[in-house]
Symmetry: none
Subunit: 197 residues, 4 copies
C-alpha cells in the first residue's frame, strides 16, 4: 500500500498512459523520455526495457486504441453502400471516439511527426478508408463534400469542440448534438433535391 513499488507488472501500461498524457500536453517531440520516466518515478532505462524506442510507445498506443477503428471499417465494408449504413457508421464512429478521442486528438495535433513515424501511414489509410465508406466516389461534388463534412463534424466535435464551445452542456450532450448535425448532412446528401436546392 506504499507509494513506491506498489504496482507490479503493469508498468508497460502505466508508461503508455503517462506518455499519452504528456504527448497531449506538450506534443510528441517536446515530450522527453526523461519527463515520462520522472513522472513514473523510474529511470529512462526502465522505459527501454518495455519499449524498444520512443516511437514504439506510440505504436503501442495506436495498436491498443486503433483497433475499434479497424473493426468499424471492416464492418462497413461488409455492408451495402447506402444511407442506412452510412448513418450507422457515423453513429459507431461517434461512439468509438468517446473512449478513443485522446488518441485521435494526439494524432491530429502531431501530424507532421506521425507522417514520419510509419505508424502514421496506417492511420491515414484508415481515415481515407472511412471517407470512402461515407461518401459516394461517383456522386456529385457537393454530396461528397457533405459526406466529408459529416465526418469532420463527428470527428472534431469530439475534441476540438470541447475547447471552443462555451456553455455548460455535458461532453456527451455535445457529442450527440454533433452526431445529429452530421446525420442531417448525410441525409441531405442522399436527398434527390440536395444538389439543386
Amino acid at each position: 500500500m506504499g507509494t513506491h513499488q506498489a504496482r507490479r507488472g503493469d508498468t508497460r501500461q502505466r508508461i503508455q498512459d503517462v506518455a499519452l498524457e504528456l504527448f497531449l500536453e506538450r506534443g510528441y517531440e517536446k515530450t522527453s523520455l526523461r519527463e515520462i520516466a520522472e513522472k513514473l518515478d523510474v529511470t529512462k532505462a526502465a522505459l527501454y526495457y518495455h519499449f524498444k524506442t520512443k516511437e514504439d510507445i506510440v505504436i503501442g498506443l495506436f495498436q491498443e486504441f486503433g483497433r475499434p477503428l479497424d473493426e468499424l471499417i471492416a464492418w462497413g465494408r461488409t455492408q451495402p453502400s447506402d444511407l442506412d449504413t452510412r448513418l450507422e457508421l457515423l453513429r459507431r464512429y461517434s461512439a468509438a471516439l468517446q473512449t478513443a478521442s485522446p488518441l485521435f486528438r494526439f494524432a491530429h495535433e502531431n501530424q507532421p511527426t506521425l507522417r514520419e513515424l510509419s505508424i502514421g501511414q496506417s492511420f491515414r489509410e484508415r481515415i481515407t478508408a472511412l471517407t470512402e465508406l461515407v461518401t459516394d466516389a461517383g456522386g456529385p461534388l457537393e454530396d461528397r463534400a457533405r459526406g466529408m463534412s459529416a465526418l469532420f463534424t463527428v470527428h472534431f466535435g469530439a475534441f476540438a469542440a470541447m475547447e471552443w464551445m462555451t456553455g455548460d452542456d455535458t461532453p456527451d450532450d455535445k457529442r450527440r448534438a454533433f452526431l445529429q448535425v452530421a446525420e442531417e448532412l448525410l441525409t441531405a446528401a442522399h436527398h434527390p433535391s440536395a444538389g439543386t436546392e
Copy 2:
C-alpha cells in the same frame, strides 16, 4: 552577374518562405535552423541577423498571414449578429483561406507547439472569436453545433480535404462546394424548425 547574391534585402522574406515550407513538411520541432540555413545556402548565424529566435520566425509568419483574419473579425464585430452577417463571414473566411491556408494548416498540425509559443494564444483567441461571431451563444445546442460544423467545414475543407478527397475537381471547386455546405448548415441553424425536425 551571378546567380548567388542576386537577391538583396529580401532575405528576411526568403527565410520565412523556406521556414514555412519546412515547418509544413517536417513540423516545427523537427525543423532545425540548420536545415533552414542550408536550404537557403547561408549560415545559421545569418538567420539570427534577421530573427531574434526561432519562435520569432513563426511570429513573423503569423503577422503576415494572420492579418486578414484579424480584419475579418474586426469587420464581423461591427455588423449585426444575424444570418446574413454570418453567411458573409463564412464567405470571407473561405476566401481568406485561399491564400492563407498553408499557415492555417501549419497552425493546425503544430498545435502542441503553438500552445506554448505565446503567438499560439492569440491564434486560438482569434478562432474563438470567430466561433462566437458565427454561433449564437444563447441558442440551442444543436444550432451552436451547426455553426461550429459550418466553420469546420470551411476550415478543413480548405486543406484536410485536399488530401483525402478523390476526383479531379480543382481546389477552387472543392472550396466552393464546402462553402456551400457550410452555408446550408448555417441557414438550417437559423430555420425555426431546425431544432425540432
Copy 3:
C-alpha cells in the same frame, strides 16, 4: 525432449564459444552481452550465472586456450638456449597456433582492450617470454631482429596471411610455408657470417 533445453551443463562452454565468435566478428567492445545472450537464446541474466562479469568470459577463454602457450614457454625454459631449441620452439608454436589461432587473432585485434583487462598483462608477458627464448639478448641487433621476424612470420602467418594471401593452397600448406621461412630466418641468425653479409 525437444530441440531446446537439449544441452545441459555445457552452457558455460556455449557462452564462451559464441562470445569468441562475436568478439572476433565485431570486437570485444562492440559485442554486447545482449547479443551473446540473444544468439544463445537465453537472458542476459543467465550469463551472469556462469560468469561474474564480461571480462570474466575473456579470462575463461584465455585460460582454456592459453595453456598450450604456457607449457611451451615452460618447456623452452628447461632447454639449452641454442638453435635446435629455438627451431623446436618455432615448430611447437606454429603447431599450437593451429588450434589456438582464433584466440590469438582476438588478442591481436583487441589489444587496447586487453591492455586494460588484467588478463592482457599476462598475455603480453607470455609474448615477451617467447621472444626472449627465441632471441639472444646479448647478440647483435640484426640477429635479434631475425628472431623477432621469425616469430612474426609464424604468428601472423597463422591468421593475417589467411586473408591477404591469394592462391588455393590449404591453410596447413600456408602454415608450413611460413614455418619454413621462419626456420630459415633463425638459422641465418645463428650463422657466423649472418651479421657481416
Copy 4:
C-alpha cells in the same frame, strides 16, 4: 601568451592529434568524445563543429596519414615487377612508417572497429595492393610467404617491436635492422635455389 584561447584556427588539427593519442592509448571504442574534448579544454559540441561524427575524425586521420601509402602503391605500379622494385618498395615503406607508424599501429590494434568503419575497407585494400606488389602471384608458395614475411617484418618492426625488443638501440637502428632482414627475405625469394636449399 595565455594558456586559454592561445591557439586559433588549428583546432581541427589539435582534435585529430589528441584523438589519435587517445585512440592509441585506450582504443577507439573506449575513447569517448568527452575525453577528447576535456583534454582539449573545449566542449563536446565543439568537436562536432569540426567533424560530423566520431568516425569522421578517424577518416580525417587516414586521409592525412594514408596519402604516403597511396603514393607508394601508385609508384610501385609504374615500375617493373622485379627484385629491385620490390626492394625499393620495402625501403620506401619502411621510411613511410617512420612518420605514419602511430596511425598504422592504431589501424592494427583496432581492426574489428575499422572493419565496420568504411574507411577500414580502403585501408585493407591498400595492404592487399602492397602484398601484391611485393609478391609474385604466380610464384611458389614459399616465395610468396617470404614476400609477406618481409612485409610483416618491416611493418611490425616499426611498432610491435618497439615494445617487445629489449636493449638500448635507437628506434631508427631497429627500423634499419628490420629493413635489412626484410631485404634478405626478398632477395632469398628471388634466388633460384631459394625453394630447394
